[in-house]
């Protein structure tokens, strides 16, 4: 190694200082590593250099013209000046030229105060312009969807946003149009931008051309206190800055964390903070009196819960069950597990509220089996029933980067994923016929030739009609190719709940068992925290009967969710951005949460509520009892679903932008989620007489829902895809827990009042 070092390093002089860097380093990077500042606009260190903006010009001895430092590779003996008169003159000229058409509306512009163009015009600019001609004039701002505003006058055509879509996200969301003087970035005909990562383009835009519509004119950088915290939506656990002004989170930004999210976030993270300040947060405990939930004091509510818990204990052990954990911090989860195991004395705890009894989800521990970084080093990725951009968007960015380095992507799914362009193989079949595809993969040369194969098994596969079979096939596949099987299951802090013991104890029941037991009268009291089982349980009827079978329901909630509405006691809880603590991401990493704002009214942290209850039960608890319980990692074969398959089946799929209790209260996300809809294949649509964008009634054996139909070949013949997560559209009522696929009939609904032209 030591002998090789001289050959792989070069030494150059920058502004009279000798700098030694590895071969292949650009002059810009070399300068930056030595603390020499070279102004840039188009260069971004996560993307290859482009040399479009000409701001980084430097003078190099023996080179006749000024060179762009961002594209010039450092070589031995190079003598570079970043401050010579020629460079200074070039920098002044570049800024003068960039400002020919840039409107000087900084006082209005949202970028003002944190704008690279503004900063560099001050530092390197000439101070005055010789151009007196009228500037380019465009209508402003152009709205490109619910979250993005484009101001074409301000754009300096650095192409950062365009290249982000091409290189980092792979969604080609924004492009350059026209040519020369008329060049502009945007979308065709200014249509709403189609991307899940567009917030990043706002962050990397070096001017105010791309700005956020939800943050528009809300604050200046000097008004803001940034709080370093963690996003708690999907489970990747991206590091974020929560920008707070006056006790309200106004904006979320990506915080650089190379091992998790690098420098990126998805739009759910960027625009998903509005729910914290929603007006309908619960502020006082509610107790059911005379059939109605009425406001009560904390003492009254806690006394009542403690009394009920004691009464249950007198009737016998294990007559209390706990559900939830996804929206709890590690500390909350640990407190809940300790309280129910040790103080209440019940083994019936489970955070896996959305798992069906006969799928594959209950038999394995959830999460990745390697670190995100290791995953990113893979050379073959197999996504089995895992819609990665809808479920774990930032994880996709890592896979996309690996694909660009030569890795292969193989998709096994019941839907044409939006990332299919990047896939080497795409194996599609109806939802109940996926297992043979996975079994066939072992013979696939792409997979077989992989050295570091990563198989991600998603919720759609595990909880589908063939879940246990798929799990076994995927397991034997990774054994054969010496790969890694990841269980891409769980959201929020499911991983912390799993790690800190919100799983059934000795003799305890899993979530479906708890629900069935509750329906049969096995429990006196059901306790729910950090979850909304009324919408999360995939068999809506199972929840209904559990609720009516249990005598007393206690819920910790931030909003009057469906579960809370059915409760006997509702305790107002803080949400994660209001708490200090930690969460666990899907690779098992512990990440810090910092309280960004205070909670509303009398809302309390879940952990505190459990401690107060424990005190009322005669146990004083400290916070040093967080017992880490290693999750089970076993794979058990289960019987495959048998029987005749219906001609049209319903498939409930995950979507990134939904209208659930959190995202449904965030401006921007509500519009991105749009109306609830189902996807139906053109062949099935023609047979059922369904037209695109028309209303349809989806009728199953158990229930019917009315949604908008989108006729699309994103889905496959023989199945109707419908998304969960839209409150008010009870897709969980459509099917009962069953190993067999659920048949569905789709009928067009005539619009009220007949057709109007």
């Amino acid at each position: 190694m030591a002998a090789e070092a001289p050959r792989t390093a070069v030494t150059l002089m920058i502004d009279g200082r000798g700098i030694t860097v590895p071969k292949g380093t650009t002059v810009y990077q070399a300068a930056r590593s030595a603390g020499v500042d070279i102004p840039i606009f188009c260069y971004h260190d996560r993307m290859p250099p482009l040399g479009a903006c000409r701001m980084c010009l430097v003078e190099v001895q023996k080179m006749s013209k000024l060179q762009t430092a961002c594209t010039l590779e450092a070589s031995e003996g190079m003598v570079v000046s970043t401050t010579s008169p020629a460079v200074r003159a070039a920098q002044e000229s570049m800024l003068e030229l960039l400002l020919i058409n840039h409107p000087l509306d900084c006082p209005i512009c949202d970028k003002g105060g944190e704008c690279p163009l503004q900063d560099q015009a001050f530092r390197y600019g000439p101070g005055r312009s010789r151009f007196i001609e009228a500037k380019r004039d465009h209508a402003k701002p152009l709205s490109l969807g619910p979250v993005l505003a484009l101001d074409r006058e301000r754009c300096i055509l650095c192409w950062r946003c365009v290249r982000f879509g091409e290189i980092i996200a792979g969604d080609d969301a924004l492009k350059g149009f026209e040519r020369g003087f008329a060049s502009e970035v945007g979308t065709p005909r200014a249509l709403p931008v189609e991307s899940k990562f567009i917030g990043n383009t706002i962050a990397i835009c070096p001017v105010g051309a791309l700005t956020s519509r939800t943050y528009r004119f809300r604050a200046r950088p000097w008004d803001i206190d940034p709080v370093a915290s963690t996003c708690t939506y999907c489970g990747v656990g991206c590091s974020v800055w929560l920008d707070v002004r006056g006790g309200e989170i106004l904006r979320t930004r990506a915080r650089e964390e190379p091992e998790v999210n690098d420098a990126w976030l998805c739009d759910l993270g960027f625009f998903g903070h509005g729910y914290v300040a929603a007006g309908d947060r619960l502020t006082t405990p509610l107790v059911r009196r005379e059939g109605r939930l009425q406001e009560a004091s904390w003492d009254e509510a806690l006394d009542l819960v403690a009394e009920r818990l004691r009464a249950s204990a007198e009737r016998g052990p294990g007559r209390v069950a706990f559900l939830g954990g996804r929206r709890l911090s590690n500390e909350d989860a640990s407190a809940a597990a300790g309280f129910f195991r040790d103080v209440v004395g019940t083994p019936h705890l489970d955070h896996r509220v959305d798992a069906p009894p006969d799928g594959a989800s209950l038999g394995v521990s959830w999460g990745l089996r390697s670190s995100l970084e290791d995953l990113g080093r893979g050379d073959v990725f197999v996504l089995v029933g895992c819609d990665i951009t809808e479920e774990y968007p930032v994880l996709w960015l890592r896979i996309k980067a690996a694909i660009d380095r030569g890795a292969s992507l193989v998709i096994v799914h019941a839907k044409r994923l939006e990332i299919r362009r990047h896939a080497r193989r795409e194996l599609l079949d109806r939802h109940d016929r996926l297992a043979p595809l996975v079994a066939a993969l072992a013979a696939d040369e792409t997979v077989a030739s992989g050295e570091r194969v990563h198989v991600l098994l998603g919720r759609l596969a595990m909880d589908g009609p063939d879940g246990p079979n798929l799990l076994r096939s995927a397991d034997s596949l990774v054994r054969r190719v010496n790969g890694t099987l990841h269980i891409a299951r769980g959201r929020g802090n499911d991983f912390g709940a799993q790690r800190f013991g919100l799983l059934p104890g000795e003799g305890g029941m899993a979530a479906p068992g708890i629900l069935q037991g509750a329906a049969a009268g096995a429990f006196d009291l059901l306790y729910v925290a950090g979850s909304d089982p009324a919408t999360a349980v995939t068999d809506g009827a199972a929840w209904e009967s559990a609720r009516s079978g249990v005598g007393f329901l206690v819920v910790h909630e931030a909003f009057l969710s469906e579960t809370a509405q059915a409760a006997d006691v509702v305790l107002p809880a803080l949400v994660l951005p209001e708490k200090d603590g930690t969460v666990t991401n899907l690779e098992g990493r512990t990440l810090a949460l910092r309280a960004a704002v205070k909670g509303p009214g009398q809302a309390r942290a879940d952990r505190e509520i459990f401690d107060l209850l424990a005190a009322r039960m005669g146990v004083v608890r400290g916070h040093d009892t967080a017992t880490r319980i290693e999750p089970v990692a076993r794979i058990e074969p289960a019987a495959a679903g048998a029987g005749a398959s219906p001609s049209l089946i319903v498939v409930v799929a995950d979507r990134l932008f939904t209208q659930g209790s959190m995202a449904g209260r965030c401006r921007g996300l509500i519009e991105l989620a749009g109306t609830a809809h189902c996807l139906i294949h053109p062949a099935d649509a023609a047979r059922a007489g369904v037209t695109d964008l028309g209303l349809v009634e989806m009728v199953t054996e158990h229930a019917s829902v009315v949604v908008q139909a989108r006729v699309s070949d994103v889905t496959l013949p023989g199945q109707v895809l419908v998304h969960r997560g839209y409150d008010g559209v009870p897709v969980h009522a459509l099917a009962r827990w069953s190993p067999a696929p659920a048949g569905v009939e789709v009928r067009p609904v005539a619009p009220p009042g007949g057709e109007t032209p």
């Binding site: 509306d105 900084c106 006082p107 209005i108 003002g112 105060g113 402003k140 701002p141 528009r216 004119f217 809300r218 200046r220 000097w222 008004d223």
Partner: protein, 157 residues
């Protein structure tokens, strides 16, 4: 005794000065019955001025907020709509408050203002009976009509 003589002369000289001013008109005025005129560039209470057509000059850029050495200014901006065009451009100040108890009347805000909106007027009678009454809000600060602050509403920035 030369010492005594010297002291007497000094005393007389002193009385002479007093006597000289005794018959001149006084420089003090009977405030508040009588008020003095202040210098043209006196820095008194602030105004948020308007253009001649009545449109507000302030765009809510918050440069005054960041420049204020006593952190006396609070601004919350909002977007103009076609129905409600408060200022020129896309942005206006929805809330604008100056805490007159904190203000040190240095005039930095006036100097920083890129639209010439905020100006310091001639009014120096800024006492009040409560803290709240001395936090001037936007309706109190905004000129009731163009030019009410005494500045030419047609002036360039």
């Amino acid at each position: 005794m030369p010492g005594l003589l010297k002291q007497s002369i000094a005393l007389l000289r002193g009385f002479l000065i007093t006597g000289r001013y005794l018959f001149r008109p006084p420089v003090t005025v009977l405030y508040p019955e009588v008020k003095t005129r202040v210098a043209p560039r006196f820095k008194g209470r602030h105004w948020l001025t308007r253009y001649a057509d009545g449109v507000e000059r302030c765009v809510g850029c918050e440069l005054c907020v960041i420049v204020c050495p006593s952190q006396a200014i609070y601004v919350r901006a909002a977007e103009n709509t076609p129905e409600r065009q408060v200022s020129k451009g896309e942005r206006h100040a929805d809330q604008f408050q100056i805490n007159m108890l904190r203000c040190i009347f240095c005039g930095f805000c006036e100097e920083a203002c890129p639209t010439g909106s905020i100006v310091m007027g001639q009014d120096y009678e800024l006492a009040g009976y409560s803290r709240a009454s001395l936090i001037y809000t936007k309706p109190m600060l905004t000129e009731p009509y163009p030019g009410a602050s005494g500045r030419d509403p047609g002036r360039e920035v």
